[in-house]
């Protein structure tokens, strides 16, 4: 066993004898078996196909400690730049729910919403059927590690036949008092029959601290339900961000998963959707903006298990400096999933000679009556398009900015909520104005 794995196991044992012992036994048992699994699996290494391009030295050579308990002080002014008009906001500061900066308004009258650690101790009958069942800790080391240590985050349950108009903005702020802190955040979102909700998971780093976010989000949507899920990752430039987002779709349900990744020194994003009911629809879109020596690894899976499912995926990235991007997009069409229509596109722009992208679309099709397409392009800004714009009087910087905006806007334009779109536009504009082209 690697020394670091043993250190995590020791830390777990200390907590299990104290902190966790107040939790229901079923939860404690899940934690124990997840920790056992983690010690067996250890951290992934480059010999594994799924990890061959991502170096985890930054995580395996340093022990990241659980939050010290000392809390950073922030004021309402701190979060002003991260407010999105017309949304309910829940703030999680350094892994702990912060009710005084959250605004739930009248949400509690229609849906069940609580911070995750509270949901765990309540042993909610709603949580139990899903916990650890959607995000599988037996095969994924970081899910196992998260499940052993899972702390705060948000639990949301929308009963049947409820349309929640205002998006819910989950704002995870990291500004730890100590360097090398790890946050094992956990979220669960269950949406009932015919119900609809929009969730923004927004990860923000306030200062230039080194920390490790290890988040697992499990979502399930029942028949004819809808989830719009928007993930924004704007962690600090020295942060490590490992994220696992898994969603189960029942029949005729519809889910959109949009990812915007701009922060962290290293990110691994695993997004997977299982279309478990007939006629489910999943849209997956992503935009990566990476510079300096950022390493951004996206692994997506669209798993069509039942007939008449549709999925479309568009992942784009702009890479400059020495940034390294990975896009690994798997589409699985199971034997039973006839009449599936699945489309996948990956497009990357490289703005420097040292930027690099590995793009790897994977189609695994076991049904015979399906439509599947995929395409991947990686290149520079088109010289011809630049010339076209310049020949109309736009200077080279304006022309480049216009083309880069245009490239990124194809993803932003998929967001129908105008306030969220404006929030993302300002992140994009900031990023573009900060790079050399």
């Amino acid at each position: 066993m690697l020394k670091i794995v043993k250190q995590y196991a020791d830390e777990f044992r200390n907590l299990d004898n104290g902190h966790f012992s107040t939790e229901p036994v079923a939860i404690q048992n899940i934690r124990i078996s997840a920790m056992e699994r983690f010690t067996e699996l250890g951290f992934p290494n480059n010999k594994l196909e799924e990890w061959k391009n991502t170096n985890l030295d930054g995580l395996t050579k340093t022990l990241f400690k659980l939050p010290s308990g000392k809390q950073t002080q922030i004021t309402p002014e701190t979060i002003v730049p991260f407010s999105i008009e017309g949304t309910h906001r829940l703030v999680i500061l350094n892994g702990k729910y912060l009710p005084e900066l959250s605004n739930l308004d009248n949400l509690l009258t229609t849906i069940e919403i609580k911070n995750f650690s509270e949901a765990l101790t309540d042993d909610s009958s709603l949580l139990a059927p899903y916990l650890g069942k959607i995000a599988d800790y037996t095969n994924h080391p970081f899910v196992a590690l998260n499940t052993a240590f899972m702390d705060d985050g948000i639990f949301i349950h929308v009963p049947d036949n409820q349309i929640i108009e205002n998006p819910i903005h989950l704002l995870y702020i990291s500004s730890p008092t100590d360097e090398n802190t790890v946050f094992h955040l956990r979220n669960m979102i269950i949406v009932g029959v015919n119900s609809e909700i929009t969730i923004i998971e927004d990860y923000v780093g306030l200062d230039n601290k080194k920390y490790f976010t290890n988040v697992v989000t499990e979502m399930a949507v029942k028949e004819n339900g809808t989830i719009h899920h928007i993930k924004i990752q704007q962690e600090s430039a020295r942060a490590h961000h490992i994220s696992t987002l898994q969603v189960h779709l029942d029949s005729a349900s519809s889910v959109s998963l949009d990812s915007f990744i701009v922060g962290s020194s290293m990110t691994r994003n695993d997004i997977s959707a299982i279309l478990n009911g007939e006629g489910a629809d999943c849209k997956m879109n992503g935009l990566v903006l990476a510079k300096d020596s950022q390493h951004i690894d996206n692994h997506t899976i669209l798993d069509h298990a039942m007939p008449h499912g549709t999925s479309s995926e568009l992942f784009k990235g702009i890479y400059t400096g020495k940034a390294h991007g990975i896009f690994n997009g798997r589409i699985i069409v199971r034997k039973n999933a006839q009449k599936t229509d699945a489309r996948q596109t990956n497009k990357n722009l490289l703005l420097s000679d040292s930027a690099l992208v590995n793009s790897n679309p994977q189609l695994e099709i076991y049904a015979d009556d399906v439509k599947c397409t995929h395409g991947s392009t990686t290149g520079q800004l088109e010289e011809e398009a630049l010339f076209y714009l310049r020949s109309r009087g736009l200077d080279i910087r304006t022309a480049q900015a216009l083309l880069l905006h245009g490239f990124a806007d194809q993803i932003l334009n998929k967001i129908s909520n105008l306030a969220i779109k404006a929030y993302l536009q300002s992140i994009l504009s900031n990023w573009l104005s900060g790079i050399k082209t």
Partner: protein, 252 residues
């Protein structure tokens, strides 16, 4: 206004233009005809400033200024416009935003106040009527999903809004049906004036029937081998290019 003197241009070491001499004065419309591969598009692109073309000799003077030393955007701001034979498709870049940026760059250069969104819309809608473009066009991306005819009308529209003094139209008529040719020609005719010069590059005589050129030149194998009035175009339509012998270059 535009003087091209002994222009030699190569692409990847291969000579394409081999000594072009041509003067376009304000108020004149010159047509350049010629077979495929004669260098017509190279001439248009060199005037606009595409850097993949290497000028090995000669010069292009615009209003007394050396055009070849200017960036493409500086040429545009000075009043040179080229309509692309193959307009570039730019997904995600909204056409209204692009044109407003271009028009305001031009106005700023001229020392005029920039147009705000509302004034710009009024301005562009008036120009769109001239080339019969639908308002839905304003919400589209640059040339994205445009038909061949829409792309060419979009080029003419850009000429109308940027108001260049020197316009080079590279095969703006090719691939258009007769109605579209008429729309494009009308747009061009309304725009002609004593202050403006035009270089209309075309493969066919057809559009020249609508725009009445002052001069017609034949470009073949990188040289202007014959120049004349509009009757030359009719002659070319009838006999083709083969009767012209390129060993007898004439100075235009």
């Amino acid at each position: 206004m535009l003087e091209i003197k002994n222009l030699h241009v190569s692409v990847e070491g291969k000579p394409i233009l081999k000594g072009i001499n041509l003067t376009v004065n304000a108020g004149e419309l010159h047509a350049i005809m010629g077979p495929n591969g004669s260098g017509k598009t190279t001439l248009a692109q060199v005037i606009a400033g595409r850097d993949m073309y290497e000028v090995t000799d000669g010069e292009i003077i615009f209003d007394g200024k050396n055009l070849l030393k200017m960036t493409p955007e500086a040429r545009a701001l000075e009043g040179v416009f080229m309509s692309f034979q193959y307009p570039v498709v730019i997904p995600g870049v909204n056409i209204t935003y692009f044109l407003k940026t271009a028009v305001n760059a031009m106005r700023k250069h001229k020392g005029l106040e920039e147009l705000d969104a509302i004034d710009f819309l009024t301005f562009i809608k008036e120009k769109m009527r001239l080339v019969r473009m639908d308002e839905s066009y304003l919400s589209r991306s640059v040339n994205d999903g445009f038909s061949g005819g829409e792309k060419k009308r979009n080029e003419i529209l850009q000429m109308l809004v940027l108001e260049p003094r020197m316009s080079v139209l590279d095969e703006t008529d090719s691939g258009l049906d007769i109605d579209a040719v008429r729309i494009v020609a009308n747009g061009l005719n309304n725009f002609r004036s004593k202050e403006r010069g035009f270089l209309v590059i075309t493969h066919y005589q057809r559009i020249l029937g609508y725009i009445d050129p002052d001069y017609v030149h034949v470009l073949k194998n990188g040289r202007i081998i014959k120049s004349g009035g509009k009757n030359l175009a009719l002659e070319l339509e009838e006999k083709g290019y083969s009767w012209l012998v390129e060993e007898q270059p004439i100075e235009a």
